[in-house]
């Protein structure tokens, strides 16, 4: 990944630089018009969040059952990114809703569950920060439950009556909208990969420093 980091950073930066042009060129949606263009960042941010949930959940399970510190470092990095991309989704959504629905927020199933999912991973980070010794295992359990909850958030629009658009809007996108959407989705997933890599590198350095301090205290260094 070290060799790929710089080329991927350049590629991601180029994609994000071109993204506004692609979004501006996409056709207007017939009822929501201009405000619907938030879609091209809103949904890819959720996709990056779901990628983070998958990584965090699997890595948490590995750390919980096999006690692998490398998996723990991956999980904590992914959890921070889940909160970041979830925050982008939770802020851009109400800005879209204010114009499209006339309200900033609606306590319906989809929106409320998305907020709760974000709170689960904020709880994960708080357990890590303030939980004391052994908090990595507790946080891993929270991460695992976060992953278990996430499919319900995705299918909530199909189960409960909500004002949120259905999941079918993405597969049924018309060609003019489909290309810019997937372009932005790939850009967000690349950004997620880069940030995760950077965060895992930080965690590795922190672990190395902690090991050195512990060894010094034990008189080994």
């Amino acid at each position: 990944m070290k060799k790929l980091f710089i080329p991927l950073t350049v590629l991601t930066a180029a994609m994000f630089a071109y993204a506004p042009v692609a979004i501006a060129g996409a056709p207007y949606e017939s009822t929501m018009l201009l405000i619907q263009k938030i879609f091209y960042f809103h949904v890819p941010a959720w996709m990056a969040m779901y990628a983070g949930i998958a990584v965090c959940g699997v890595a948490s399970a590995i750390h919980l059952f096999k006690n692998r510190p490398a998996a723990d470092r991956l999980a904590v990095g992914a959890a921070e990114l889940i909160v970041l991309f979830g925050a982008i989704g939770l802020v851009s959504g109400p800005l879209w809703g204010r114009k499209a629905w006339g309200v900033w927020w609606q306590w319906d199933a989809r929106l409320t569950m998305a907020l709760l999912l974000e709170l689960v991973f904020i709880a994960y980070l708080m357990v890590r920060k303030y939980g004391g010794p052994g908090s990595d295992k507790l946080a891993a359990a929270v991460g695992l439950f976060g992953m278990a909850v996430s499919p319900f958030v995705y299918v909530s629009v199909n189960i409960w009556r909500t004002i949120h658009p259905l999941n079918t809007v993405v597969p049924s996108l018309r060609p003019g909208m489909r290309a810019p959407f997937w372009f932005c989705a790939v850009a967000f997933l690349l950004l997620f990969t880069l940030l995760l890599n950077l965060r895992v590198y930080l965690a590795r350095e922190q672990a190395m420093l902690d090991d050195l301090y512990l060894a010094e205290d034990d008189g080994a260094v």
């Binding site: 405000i35 938030i38 960042f41 809103h42 925050a87 930080l202």
Partner: protein
């Protein structure tokens, strides 16, 4: 006689004041619905759209800055640690 002139002047003055007043507007007796707001009354979409994109960028840059700062702190601690070990020499 004075009282008669006073009454006439008062009447004329009052009449002039009433004549200068605008006719009162008709009170609204019913509400008439329309299908769509006129464009000037509609909530503009552009500021909301710009705010959404701006927040996304600010959040990502803020996060990268926090990682950068934490990384700088850890690397400076590692350098201090290595310097301290070098000063002690290969004693153990």
């Amino acid at each position: 006689m004075k009282a008669l002139f006073a009454s006439v002047y008062t009447f004329l003055f009052t009449a002039a004041v009433f004549a200068m007043q605008q006719p009162p507007t008709e009170p609204q007796g019913e509400f008439l619905p329309i299908d769509q707001l006129p464009p000037a009354e509609q909530l503009p979409a552009a500021p909301l759209l710009v705010a959404a994109y701006a927040f996304a960028w600010l959040a990502v840059f803020f996060y990268v800055w926090t990682v950068w700062r934490r990384l700088g702190k850890v690397e400076s601690e590692l350098r201090v640690f290595e310097k301290r070990q070098a000063q002690r020499g290969p004693s153990r």
